[in-house]
């Protein structure tokens, strides 16, 4: 179990990075929380998270395994973000700052 942690953490970092990137797109923002505004600094935020997930894996798993794991976890994380957006978009609402209370009431399932 202990050796799962680096991969799990790296996956979470990549998931967050991709979720922020997806929410920079109006279509997805609309589905998650109508009326919410796009936060600032998405690129820097996502690039930092993706970079740190790579660094984490390289340190914890070594060059060969680390790089391979990162490559596959990126795909897995991005795929999971896409699935979250299509089945449970409201799970990502906390990543957005909603502008009005009204938007909350106008919740999309």
């Amino acid at each position: 179990m202990a050796d799962l942690w680096p991969a799990l953490l790296a996956f979470l970092l990549a998931y967050l990075a991709f979720a922020r990137l997806a929410l920079a797109q109006a279509v997805h923002r609309q589905a998650v929380a109508p009326g919410a505004s796009a936060g600032r600094g998405t690129r820097v935020f996502s690039a930092t998270l993706l970079g740190s997930s790579l660094a984490l894996l390289l340190v914890a798993e070594g060059g060969g395994f680390g790089a391979l794991l990162w490559l596959l976890l990126l795909s897995a994380a991005a795929f999971c973000v896409a699935q979250t957006l299509s089945w449970r978009p409201h799970w990502l609402r906390w990543l957005l700052r909603t502008r009005t209370e009204h938007a909350d009431a106008n919740e999309l399932r």
Partner: protein
């Protein structure tokens, strides 16, 4: 580019799907072996073992007449001593020994994962003139081309980077799924196709060996892989201590700064004065599959030759290693499995979309070709799953025949190809219902396989889970998951066939 993508996809899709499917299954080939060869379901092997003590009795008499034999040491995934040798009558034979007692386990006559599904992945079992290797190579090149042309043909790559609309029309959902898996898993699919091609570079470019070593082509394997051979002397002499050689090998690798255990021994001319033993260093803790080998004199145990992986070979062996996944890393193994199934999803959704886009038009025009392509698509997608499941079910139904193991293995393979042909025939006969009916059949076969495993071996899920037989439990759980997926897919396709009011209104 779109035209190139769709036609190359239709022509190669079936072969590619077979390659990706068997490749994904090969990630768990040893686990499939345990499931299909119940006699080898042993507990974890002992940490240390003595080959000199274990190789006696029946096993020793089996290899007494073989001109060469190979012994693979037990691992976490293969809890047996695996013995491979050439039999004058049967051809290549593989037997398993209990690593505790040295007892010969019965040959259950199944090629299972490592000798059927895995070779199918790279050779399609078409041995004639290496035809299978060339077909797989062409498909691999085609895959690289399809990935590139797909990205170019994709109209909204960034805008639809995360887009999947499962509740829209089936065609829309299929195309979304195709784009999603194609774009998001692109790095893995690219790397796996490229590394797959690199493995057989010498088959695809036979001229290389010729031009590098014009006098003697055999020099290439000698210099690159440390291949060693010497003629037999004809003088009888007993084989020296294998344990001593293994100890010496471990010491030498330790001195070299590459500490590691041996994973395999190959013995040439056993029982002869000129016998030699090749000991190979394990690669379970690194991506690259090293070719570090030590050759010992089989009688005296003196070191004859030491081979270290040369740098250029190291590059090829790194690509090979990242394709073969022979390292011990369960997270990576499962991620590879997900990536491989992602490839199946990519190819399957592409084929399904192509057939769906033309179905109505071709029916209107009364073209017969469309029916054939549709049937081929069904057989390539669901038929392949059914064939695999028929292979598993046949394995659990056929009685073990100790007298003629190869005959039973052949029957299993015939069940595989027979089921595949039947699926094609059924799809051609009932094109409208083929998808749904075959998906339901696949779900039934998967459940039957789980049931038969419990009945014939007694290792049902409750027992395999509680006794820590992860390979068996994992295989059963995957079969159950497959059954569920097939039923879900059947329901989704059924729903698409009967449009809802809303969809009718939208046209």
């Amino acid at each position: 580019m779109t035209r190139l993508h769709s036609w190359a996809g239709v022509l190669l899709g079936g072969v590619l799907l077979a390659i990706f499917w068997t490749g994904s299954l090969s990630l768990f080939d040893r686990e499939i072996d345990r499931w299909m060869q119940p006699a080898t379901r042993l507990p974890a092997p002992p940490a240390a073992l003595s080959l000199d003590r274990l190789l006696h009795g029946q096993a020793a008499s089996l290899i007494a007449t073989a001109p060469a034999w190979t012994l693979s040491l037990p691992t976490a995934r293969t809890p047996t001593l695996q013995l491979d040798y050439q039999d004058p009558v049967q051809g290549p034979v593989r037997r398993h020994l209990d690593p505790r007692t040295g007892a010969l386990l019965p040959d259950e006559g199944s090629w299972a994962g490592t000798r059927f599904l895995f070779p199918f992945h790279f050779s399609l079992h078409l041995r004639w003139r290496d035809l299978g290797y060339w077909l797989v190579g062409a498909a691999g090149m085609g895959m690289l081309m399809l990935l590139a042309s797909g990205v170019v043909a994709h109209r909204k790559l960034i805008a639809e980077f995360f887009t999947f609309r499962p509740r829209k029309r089936l065609q829309r959902s299929l195309l979304d799924l195709h784009n999603l898996t194609g774009v998001l898993v692109l790095p893995f699919h690219f790397l796996i196709s490229l590394s797959g091609l690199a493995i057989f570079c010498l088959i695809y470019f036979p001229g290389v060996a010729q031009s590098l070593y014009p006098e003697d082509r055999a020099q290439l394997p000698a210099e690159a892989l440390g291949a060693y051979a010497r003629p037999a002397s004809g003088v009888v002499a007993p084989l020296g201590s294998l344990d001593a050689m293994l100890r010496q090998a471990a010491q030498r690798w330790e001195q070299d700064g590459h500490p590691g255990a041996a994973y395999q021994l190959r013995v040439g001319h056993p029982g002869d004065r000129a016998a030699f033993v090749e000991i190979r260093r394990s690669f379970d803790r690194e991506v690259s599959m090293n070719v570090d080998r030590l050759i010992f004199d089989g009688v005296t145990g003196a070191l004859l030759q030491q081979h270290r992986t040369p740098p250029v070979v190291g590059v090829q062996r790194f690509l090979t290693g990242l394709h073969f996944v022979q390292f011990e890393h369960w997270t990576l193994r499962w991620l590879y499995f997900a990536g491989g199934l992602g490839g199946c999803l990519l190819i399957g959704s592409g084929l399904l979309f192509w057939a769906g886009a033309r179905r109505a038009r071709h029916a209107r025009q009364g073209r017969s070709g469309a029916r054939l392509v549709e049937a081929l698509t069904v057989a390539a997608c669901v038929g392949l799953v059914i064939a695999t499941l028929a292979f598993f079910v046949a394995n659990r139904l056929l009685p073990v025949d100790i007298a003629a193991p190869p005959r039973r293995a052949t029957l299993e393979v015939q069940a595989f190809f027979g089921a595949w042909l039947l699926s094609l025939a059924h799809a051609a006969w009932r094109p409208a219902r083929a998808w749904g009916e075959q998906l339901q059949l696949a779900a039934g076969l998967a459940l039957l396989a789980v049931l038969l495993n419990g009945l014939t071996t007694g290792d049902h899920l409750l027992r395999s889970l509680s006794s820590g037989q992860t390979a068996i439990a994992g295989m059963d759980l995957m079969l159950l998951a497959l059954a569920g997926l097939c039923l879900l897919a059947a329901r989704r396709l059924q729903r698409a066939a009967q449009p809802t009011h809303k969809e009718r209104a939208l046209g």
